[in-house]
């Protein structure tokens, strides 16, 4: 009850709605005639809970139903779940490894003590991989979120406002699209030397948001002249509210798919930078493992190859998981991928990539 009283939304039994009815009884839009369609109001007002229910239906229940029928999402989600497990439960249970914990270069799958073998310093690769997961996932989440927020903001505002605002925002976007991502990030990380996973993620996102901004801008351009937007504009809905309540929901699917793809981009470049030794590091992560293995000559030493392979598999694994999720999200939100051209096969064999999704083309 206390929560309700702070609501700005009038509930069905609020005084205001009663007032509405009273006024409505006297003043009619067409001057007194009763029962035209224009005067009909719904018997039931939509409450806040109805809206939540609808949102849950549209954004959670419906996607889940479609995703349950799609092997991609099942496989993808289970892969990501494994990584989440590694980042949380396993990190708490598996002891962190130290130099000299075991003998040098134990090969993988030989003893239970060191399931993935050990490296030159006798560190357990399994424990190292597990303890890398948390920071990497944090990096990924912060980077992906930052990418999406920046990209959405720039794309949304530039596309909707047009004119001067568009020129300014698009110019900024174009500059960042033109600057190749990895060199920019390398230079920035030399100057800033970020160590916390969150700041690393944000730094990496600096090079990633612009492509998304441009894509979202063109999507906004396609819907900015739709009648519902025009209606909202006529009603003097303030621009921020219009952008968030009217336009953003239409872009949500696209943004979701790109959130997942951005996460992959971030991981790729994070690992690349750690591998190159550009980012300063205190704890091990997959890129650091690659770096150490490379410098220990694992490339030409057959007994050390597993030191390189373990982090490689870790990266490829989470990347495949995220890719599958992105593809199945695409199918959830993009009925055309499912339905169009469905006569040559069932829904299973449609392709997963959204042709318009330029993020797919990104490598690092």
């Amino acid at each position: 009850m206390t929560a309700d009283s702070h609501d700005c939304e009038p509930g069905p039994d609020d005084g205001e709605s009663a007032d509405d009815d009273g006024v409505g009884g006297i003043l009619r839009g067409d001057g007194g005639q009763v029962g035209t369609p224009f005067d009909t109001t719904a018997d039931v007002r939509e409450t806040r809970w109805d809206r939540y229910g609808r949102a849950i239906d549209g954004y959670i229940r419906m996607p889940l139903t479609i995703m349950r029928q799609d092997w991609r999402s099942i496989v993808g989600l289970s892969i990501v779940a494994v990584y989440l497990l590694m980042g949380t439960v396993l990190t708490w249970t598996v002891e962190p490894t130290r130099t000299g914990d075991g003998p040098q270069f134990v090969q993988p799958f030989e003893t239970w003590e060191y399931p993935l073998g050990t490296n030159e310093m006798g560190q357990d690769l399994f424990a190292q991989t597990v303890h890398s997961t948390g920071p990497v996932l944090t990096m990924m989440a912060s980077g992906a979120l930052f990418t999406v927020v920046m990209g959405t903001f720039f794309g949304l505002v530039a596309g909707y406002k047009g004119g001067e605002v568009d020129t300014v925002l698009s110019s900024i976007t174009d500059v960042f699209i033109n600057i190749p991502g990895l060199p920019l990030v390398i230079v920035l990380s030399v100057l800033f030397e970020p160590t916390h996973p969150i700041s690393v993620g944000i730094l990496l996102a600096v090079a990633a948001w612009a492509g998304l901004a441009r894509a979202i801008r063109s999507q906004v351009l396609a819907i900015r002249d739709e009648s519902f937007v025009e209606a909202a504009r006529m009603m003097d809905v303030p621009t921020p509210e219009l952008l968030i309540k009217e336009i953003l929901p239409h872009l949500m699917p696209y943004i979701m798919v790109n959130l997942v793809n951005a996460a992959r981009t971030i991981i790729f470049s994070a690992v690349a930078l750690y591998y190159l030794g550009v980012l300063p590091f205190a704890d091990a992560n997959w890129g650091v493992m690659l770096n150490q293995a490379y410098h220990a000559g694992a490339i030409y030493r057959p007994d050390a190859t597993h030191w390189l392979v373990v982090p490689m598999v870790a990266i490829a694994g989470i990347s495949i998981g995220l890719l599958l999720i992105a593809q199945s999200l695409d199918r959830v939100f993009n009925p055309r991928v499912r339905a169009r051209h469905a006569d040559t096969g069932d829904a299973e064999d449609g392709d997963g990539t959204e042709p318009g999704s330029t993020e797919m083309m990104k490598q690092v």
């Binding site: 110019s171 490339i299 449609g350």
Partner: protein
């Protein structure tokens, strides 16, 4: 025409912005190279005040000048092609990099060309036999390859093809004992050394074929194809001129984005194969804290990408006549 001029202006603006950003990074950020010179290099010198002169010699920025003057100086000297002096090579940065540019362009242009040419053909084949075993197999293959970062592939190839089986050289631009020049032995060695870097970029780019497949399938559902078939056009005409052309158009954006990312990826690739291109120098400069060379390489790579994108954008108008005709009302 107007659009082309605008696009050119945008490229110029980007270059200006990049130089400005570089200036800000070199001069204004905490822990910036100019401070580094004064606080770290300075005390080691016989005459600590020399640090200012050194900073100006190497970085083109005199820390004693007021900011606006320093900025104008930096901008003019950079645009004149003076990128400062490399600290590890003790040569002008432009000279160090000039020798590296052609190599990066060589490898990257082949990688981009191959991945798109093969990607488009594969994608078309996959779409043509959609749902068949070929399609399913190729799609799975492309999906998996897309999700593996190219540097992982490069390392795997390096381990097996170079170190284990010695099919390809382990690194470098050409065999060291050869005299550079336009003779057959040298060219063969150059190509031999370039194969692995090109291959690892190319194999990892399954994305092109996937998006081509998606585009083609989308086009296959269009009504105008039914009309074309009813007109009695031959299958080849339909496949090439109707499906192919329309499916390739949207890929142009993808091509442009991958130009940027591939040039960026050159840094990792060239480090793995010890291929002395711009990326290799950039990384080398980073590791030895050679700030002038680092900023120079960064600017060079960026300008290369800006030019590549400009060319791509301007030619796009030839393929798609709709490009560049946008005029909208502002709210």
């Amino acid at each position: 025409m107007n659009w082309k001029i605008r696009r050119l202006g945008q490229a110029v603006f980007t270059v200006w912005a990049v130089v400005t950003i570089s200036f800000a990074m070199v001069r204004l950020m905490p822990g910036n190279p100019v401070d580094y010179f004064i606080t770290i290099v300075g005390p080691d010198l016989a005459d600590p005040s020399q640090a200012y002169e050194l900073a100006e010699l190497y970085l083109n920025i005199n820390p004693e000048e007021p900011l606006p003057v320093a900025y104008v100086d930096y901008m003019t000297s950079t645009l004149q092609g003076d990128l400062g002096q490399s600290m590890i090579y003790n040569e002008p940065v432009t000279e160090v990099l000039a020798g590296a540019i052609p190599w990066t362009l060589f490898v990257m242009s082949w990688a981009i060309f191959l991945s798109f040419a093969v990607g488009i053909s594969l994608g078309a084949i996959m779409a043509y036999w959609e749902g068949s075993k070929v399609d399913v197999g190729l799609t799975a293959y492309a999906t998996i390859l897309t999700s593996i970062p190219f540097y992982v592939l490069a390392l795997v190839m390096l381990i097996y093809l170079s170190y284990r089986w010695s099919v390809f050289p382990v690194g470098g631009r050409a065999a060291a004992e050869l005299e550079p020049g336009f003779h057959w032995v040298y060219i063969k060695s150059v190509v031999h050394h370039a194969i692995l870097p090109v291959l690892s970029m190319f194999v990892a780019s399954g994305a092109a074929s996937l998006s081509m497949r998606g585009n083609s399938i989308r086009v296959l559902g269009e009504d105008y194809l039914r009309v074309a078939r009813l007109c009695g056009l031959s299958d080849t005409t339909i496949a090439v001129q109707y499906v192919g052309r329309n499916a390739i158009l949207p890929m142009y954006t993808g091509l442009m984005i991958s130009i940027g990312s591939m040039f960026g990826g050159a840094v990792v690739l060239e480090q793995i194969f010890q291929y002395r291109g711009m990326g290799w120098y950039l990384l080398n400069a980073v590791n030895q804290r050679d700030y002038p060379l680092m900023m120079g390489a960064f600017m060079m790579i960026t300008i290369a990408v800006v030019i590549a994108l400009l060319i791509a954008d301007l030619t796009y108008g030839r393929i798609d006549p709709r490009a560049g005709t946008e005029d909208r009302e502002a709210f």
